[in-house]
Symmetry: C2
């Protein structure tokens, strides 16, 4: 894991002053580190009979779609409002200032399907919690939320109490 | 290819009246069709020594990142302005009304690296042409632009004259 951690770059004051952004682009650019990252996460679910993997717009699509491929699962995009062309369910969640929404296609999850959520970063947990709500609404069986990075000091786990969490790297 | 084509859904009047949108979400949701799509495109480049694969925000991340994984290549995100945290190069391109921009990290491509661009749809070619311009600016060796879908009647090929194109499905 140390090789992977070394390829995550700190960007101070992004997207705004006082925030240290964890930039995973050097990791994605390194074929070996990218492969290891995908393999370690996918291997964890290889025997878990995952039917569908959810990725959250936009960075979340990267790892989630690749892990879906490796697990012989379907891939589902959860997107910002107005981006999905078919009938959708919508979840609204609180941000530091104001609120935001995410949508999923109504035909994306069948009741009882085993669902894995994959995202790059667990921060405050607002996004992930909105997505778990959509999975529940649609009758999906949520197996786990997997993250490349968890920012422990933001305590996102608290918002995801009902869902098992796996994070590859902690800060 | 007929099985794949059957899983691409027409959505009339999206994102605006008169447009028939090609919705690939049923394809991504079908594990076998999704795997076949990735495999057919990736196999084409297996012996082509691709160093990096570029995906364009946001839907373009899905297939491009998975194909990068299969090709043992690095993955590069080309994103909308302000989304990439590190130093960027920017390309501006014309839309039907107005203009739009895309950014790439300045450390994403090293001169002489062999680059593959993967996107889901080739429409008018504006986006792809902006990305090929960024690859050229950075001294990358552009091997090909690969698309899942090409809308032949929009003649995007014309804008990409200097770049070989491969499209899995034509409309």
């Amino acid at each position: 894991m140390e090789e992977i951690r070394k390829l995550i770059r700190d960007i101070p004051d992004f997207p705004k002053e006082g925030i240290i952004f964890k930039d995973i682009t050097p990791l994605l650019l390194d074929p070996k580190a990218y492969q290891t990252t995908i393999d370690v996460i996918a291997d964890r679910y290889m025997d878990k009979h995952i039917d569908v993997v959810i990725g959250v717009e936009a960075r979340g699509f990267v790892m989630a779609s690749t892990i879906a491929y490796k697990l012989n699962a379907g891939f589902i995009m959860v997107r910002k409002p107005g981006k999905l062309p078919y009938k959708t369910h919508k979840a609204t969640y609180q941000l530091e200032y104001g609120a935001d929404s995410l949508e999923i296609h109504q035909d994306a999850i069948k009741p009882g399907q085993r669902v894995l959520i994959v995202d790059d970063v667990l921060a405050t947990g607002g996004t992930a919690s909105a997505v778990t709500g959509l999975v529940e609404l649609m009758g999906g069986d949520l197996v786990e939320c997997a993250f490349l990075i968890e920012l422990d000091f933001l305590n996102g786990k608290e918002k995801l109490k009902d869902c098992p969490i796996f994070s590859l790297i902690h800060y």
